[in-house]
C-alpha cells in the first residue's frame, strides 16, 4: 500500500525530523524533477531520505546516484537547462570536486538548488562543520544562505526554488547547513500542507531560454574579451534583482505559511540598544542567543545578529544594525589563511561593509568551532569579555583571536 506525498501532507502536520529530512521533504513537497547524489557525510543524509521516499512510492522523481560529485552537478545543470526543477548537494571536498560544474551552473544561470552539508575541508579528515566549503562559491553568482534550524531548512528550501527560478533571477541557490548540529539532529518541524506549497511555488518555467528542439538555441559558446564583461554584468544585474525578489517571496511565504522573521536577510536578537553585537552564521545562533539572554540578565547590553543570506549580502541592513553599537565581535566558523588581519571570511566582509560608515564600531574577529568543535555559552562569554575590553581601552589590541584552541 503506497502513500503518496499528497496523501501524507493533505493537511499541515508536526514532525520530529532533522534538517536533512526537512530538506528531503521539501524536495517532495516542491515536486522536484531531478535529484542527484553521491555519498559524503553529512550530505548523504538528504539522499538517504529522498531515496526512501522514492522507494516507498511517496515521491516520484528522477533520482540519480552519480559516479562523482562533478557528474552530480553536471546532471542537474543540464536538467535545469531543459526545464526540470532540480536539487543536489554535497559536503566539504566533495563540493570542491564538483567545482567546475558548480561554477558553470551559475555562469549559465541555472536555478539549481543545492544543500551544502557544511564539513571541514580535508586534510586532515574531519566530519564536523566548517563554513569554508560553501563559502568557496561566494564569488560565482550563487545565492548563499545559512540555515539555523530544521524548520528553517524546510522553509528556506521552498523559498530557494521560488527565488532561484524567478525569471528575474535565474541563479543557483545553496542552502548551507551545519554538519551534525543541523543535519543529524532532529527537531520539531511544522510541515505545510501540499496545497499551500503548490499555491506558493509555481512550476519552473525557463521560457525562451529553455533548451528544446522547438526552441533551437546554443548555450555557452566561447565568447572572449569582446563579450565576457557584458555577460558578467548581466549576472550581476540578476543578483541585484534577487534582493527585491527575495523580499517579495519572503512576504508571500509569511502570508501563506504564517511564520518567518522580520527580514529574510538577517536575524537581529536584542540588538536595539546593544553596545556589543555578536555576529555569526548558522547554528551558532542557538548558543549565542542563550549567552545574550544571560548577559542581559547581568545588565550587559549585548545583542546578536545572524547573517542569513551571505549572497546577496544585506549591505544596507547590516550597516544600519551595526553602526548603532560600540563594538562588533564576528565569530567565523571558517578561516582564510593569510587574509587581512589573518582572520575569517565573514569578518573581512563585515569590516569592509562598515568602512565608509560615519559611525564605525570597533571590529574584532574570533575564530571558533572549526572542524565541528562545539561553541558553548562559555566561549561566547569569553568573546564578549575581550570585546568589552577593547571598548574600555579605546583600542583593539588584537584583531583576530582563536577561541578554544589549545596552546
Amino acid at each position: 500500500m503506497t502513500t503518496t506525498i499528497e496523501q501524507m501532507f493533505q493537511t499541515s502536520s508536526e514532525e520530529l525530523i532533522s534538517g536533512s529530512e526537512a530538506i528531503a521533504l521539501a524536495c517532495a513537497l516542491a515536486d522536484v524533477d531531478v535529484i542527484t547524489a553521491y555519498p559524503i557525510r553529512p550530505y548523504d543524509t538528504v539522499m538517504q531520505y529522498v531515496s526512501k521516499l522514492k522507494a516507498d512510492g511517496a515521491f516520484d522523481c528522477d533520482f540519480i546516484v552519480a559516479e562523482s560529485e562533478h557528474t552530480q552537478f553536471e546532471i542537474v545543470k543540464h536538467a535545469s537547462s531543459v526545464g526540470a526543477r532540480t536539487f543536489s548537494g554535497s559536503s566539504g571536498v566533495g563540493w570542491f570536486y564538483a567545482f567546475e560544474a558548480i561554477t558553470v551552473t551559475a555562469g549559465l544561470r541555472m536555478p539549481v538548488v543545492a544543500m551544502v552539508g557544511n564539513r571541514a575541508l580535508d586534510d586532515p579528515g574531519a566530519f564536523g562543520v566548517e563554513h569554508n566549503d560553501a563559502l568557496a562559491v561566494r564569488d560565482l553568482g550563487w545565492m548563499l544562505y545559512w540555515v539555523a534550524t530544521a524548520q528553517e531548512a524546510l522553509d528556506m528550501a521552498l523559498l530557494a526554488w521560488r527565488i532561484a527560478e524567478d525569471p528575474e533571477v535565474l541563479l543557483p541557490f545553496a542552502l548551507s547547513c551545519d554538519g551534525s548540529f543541523l543535519t543529524h539532529s532532529q527537531a520539531i518541524v511544522q510541515v505545510p500542507a501540499i496545497e499551500q506549497v503548490k499555491r506558493f511555488l509555481p512550476p519552473y518555467d525557463r521560457g525562451k531560454l529553455q533548451l528544446h528542439p522547438d526552441n533551437p538555441i546554443t548555450v555557452a559558446p566561447q565568447v572572449n574579451e569582446d563579450w565576457l564583461m557584458e555577460i558578467r554584468r548581466q549576472s550581476d544585474a540578476a543578483m541585484r534583482r534577487s534582493v527585491g525578489i527575495i523580499k517579495k517571496a519572503y512576504e508571500e511565504f509569511k502570508q501563506e505559511f504564517g511564520r518567518g522573521d522580520p527580514s529574510p536577510f538577517i536575524d537581529e536578537f536584542m540588538t536595539e540598544d546593544a553596545e556589543i553585537i555578536i555576529v555569526g552564521m548558522g547554528t551558532l545562533a542557538l548558543p549565542a542567543r542563550v549567552a545574550v539572554r544571560r548577559l542581559r540578565e547581568e545588565g550587559k547590553k549585548v545583542g546578536f545578529l545572524r547573517v542569513k543570506f551571505f549572497r546577496p549580502f544585506a549591505t544596507d541592513e547590516i550597516r544600519e544594525a551595526l553602526s548603532k553599537c560600540k563594538a562588533v565581535c564576528v565569530i567565523d566558523r571558517d578561516y582564510s589563511y593569510g587574509s587581512p588581519s589573518f582572520g575569517g571570511v565573514l569578518f573581512s566582509e563585515l569590516r569592509a561593509t562598515m568602512y565608509n560608515q560615519e559611525n564605525r564600531p570597533w571590529m574584532l574577529n574570533f575564530i571558533a568551532g572549526l572542524g565541528g568543535r562545539e561553541i558553548r555559552v562559555r566561549e561566547i562569554n569569553e568573546i564578549v569579555d575581550t570585546t568589552q575590553k577593547a571598548i574600555d581601552d579605546g583600542k583593539v589590541e588584537q584583531e583576530t583571536t582563536w577561541i578554544g584552541v589549545r596552546e
Binding site: P216, W227, Q234
Partner: protein, 383 residues
C-alpha cells in the same frame, strides 16, 4: 623617433615559426642600436588552428617607458609595416578572435608599407586589397607562401629576405647593418646574410594611392550592450533555410550575416557540373554547410561560406568533378552554377583551364606529391 610597430600576418601553425623568427629578429636588431622592443602573438589566435589567419607583432621604442604603452595589449593600434606571408590573405583576414572581415591594410599607417610574399605582380595584389582613404606603399617579395618555419621543411630564407626588405622600407626601424648583425647572431650563416642583403638591394616600393584597390563594402559588426544581449549565455539559432535563392525548388541554408569565414580560404573548389552524379557527398561532408542545392539538384559551393578546407574534393568520387584551385586566381565570390547555367561552353572552358593549370602548377597550399615542397625550395633560389 618614438615607437615603430610591425605586424606579421600569417597562416596559423604552418607559418608560425616563420612569423616568430621575423618579429624576434626585429627586436634583436633594435637592441643592436640601443633600442628596446617587445614581440608577441595575438592572444586570441593561440592555440592556432591549421591555416587560420593569425598575427604576431614586433614593437620597438627608444626607451622602456615609451614602449610601455604598447605592452599589455592584444594588438598594436597601428603599424608602420604590415608583413603578409601568404598573398591569398590580401583579400582580407578573419581569425576566430575577430568579428567580421578585416582588410589586410587595416592597421597600416598612412604612408606605411605593406610587404607581401607573392608570385603575383603588384597590380594583381592591389586588385585584391581593400581601398583606403590614405596612401601607403606596397613592396612585393617574389615567393610562394613559405612553409619553411615547419620543422619538416628545409630553410628557404623567407625570414631573412623579409628582414632585409624591412630594413630598406623602414629605415626608421633599424639599419641593414643592425639587421645583418641580428641575423648573424641567431643563425651564424653567411648565406642568410647574403639573402637579406640581396632582398635589401632588390626591394622597391609601389605607392598605392587613395582609392586604389577593390571597392568592397566593409563588413560592419555591432557589439550589443549587456541589456540588449540574450541572458544566460544563450545564442538563438538562425533559421533553417529554404528554397534556392528564395525560390520553391532546391535548398539554401540561412547563413550568419556577420560570420563569413571565407577569408580563411587559400583554395576554393571549382565544380564540373556536367560530370556531377548528384551523389550528395560534398553537401553532406562540408563542415561549413557551404553547398547550396540548385533547382536541378546540383551542388553549388557558396563562396560566402566556403573556408577552403578541400573536404569536398577529397570525398567526391568523380575524377576532376571538384578541384581545389588557388584562391589567388579569383577576384569575386560569384556563383559557379549561375555562370554555368548562363553559358555552359564558356564556363567549361574557364573551368578546364583552371583545373589543368592547377594540375600542372606547383602547389599553392597543398601538395600533389610527396617531396614536392622540397623540390620547390631549390627553385626559390632563382626567384
Amino acid at each position: 623617433m618614438s615607437v615603430v610597430a610591425v605586424e606579421v600576418v600569417y597562416r596559423g601553425i604552418f607559418q608560425r615559426t616563420l612569423a616568430r623568427n621575423i618579429v624576434r629578429s626585429i627586436v634583436f636588431a633594435a637592441r643592436k642600436e640601443g633600442k628596446i622592443g617587445t614581440a608577441f602573438g595575438r592572444y586570441g589566435d593561440s592555440p592556432e588552428r591549421n591555416g587560420i589567419p593569425a598575427k604576431q607583432f614586433a614593437i620597438v621604442a627608444d626607451g622602456a617607458e615609451e614602449l610601455e604603452e604598447s605592452m599589455a595589449v592584444y594588438e598594436a593600434a597601428e603599424v608602420d609595416v604590415t608583413i603578409n606571408v601568404d598573398d591569398t590573405m590580401c583579400k582580407g583576414i578573419e581569425s576566430w578572435a575577430w568579428y567580421g572581415l578585416q582588410p589586410i591594410n587595416e592597421l597600416t599607417k598612412p604612408g606605411g608599407t605593406l610587404i607581401v610574399t607573392s608570385r603575383q605582380d603588384n597590380d594583381a595584389l592591389i586588385e585584391d586589397m581593400h581601398q583606403r582613404d590614405s596612401a601607403y606603399n606596397l613592396a612585393t617579395i617574389a615567393s610562394i607562401p613559405s612553409f619553411s618555419g615547419l620543422w619538416v621543411f628545409k630553410d628557404d630564407h623567407t625570414d631573412v629576405r623579409i628582414l632585409g626588405t624591412l630594413a630598406k622600407v623602414a629605415p626608421q626601424l633599424v639599419s641593414l647593418d643592425s639587421m645583418l648583425a641580428a641575423i648573424n647572431d641567431q643563425w651564424s650563416s653567411e648565406t642568410k646574410q647574403a639573402s637579406a642583403r640581396k632582398a635589401y638591394d632588390r626591394a622597391s616600393l609601389r605607392p598605392v594611392e587613395p582609392g586604389e584597390g577593390k571597392n568592397e563594402e566593409r563588413m560592419t559588426f555591432t557589439l550589443p550592450g549587456w541589456k540588449d544581449m540574450e541572458e544566460a549565455v544563450v545564442i538563438r539559432a538562425i533559421e533553417p533555410g529554404g528554397g534556392f535563392r528564395g525560390g520553391d525548388a532546391g535548398y539554401e541554408p540561412v547563413r550568419s550575416a556577420v560570420f563569413k569565414k571565407f577569408s580563411t580560404r587559400s583554395m576554393r573548389p571549382v565544380i564540373n557540373f556536367d560530370t556531377c552524379t548528384k551523389c550528395t557527398l560534398c553537401w553532406l561532408q562540408c563542415p561549413d554547410t557551404c553547398f547550396d542545392v540548385t533547382p536541378d539538384g546540383l551542388y553549388d559551393a557558396n563562396m560566402e561560406s566556403c573556408c577552403g578546407c578541400g573536404v569536398c574534393e577529397a570525398v567526391c568520387p568523380v575524377t576532376d568533378c571538384v578541384t581545389m584551385v588557388n584562391e589567388g586566381e579569383f577576384n569575386d565570390h560569384n556563383s559557379q552554377w549561375e555562370a554555368w547555367t548562363e553559358n555552359k561552353d564558356e564556363y567549361n572552358k574557364w573551368m578546364t583551364v583552371l583545373v589543368e593549370t592547377q594540375k600542372k602548377e606547383t602547389r599553392t597550399h597543398g601538395f600533389h606529391h610527396k617531396g614536392q615542397y622540397a623540390e620547390e625550395i631549390a627553385e626559390m633560389g632563382d626567384v
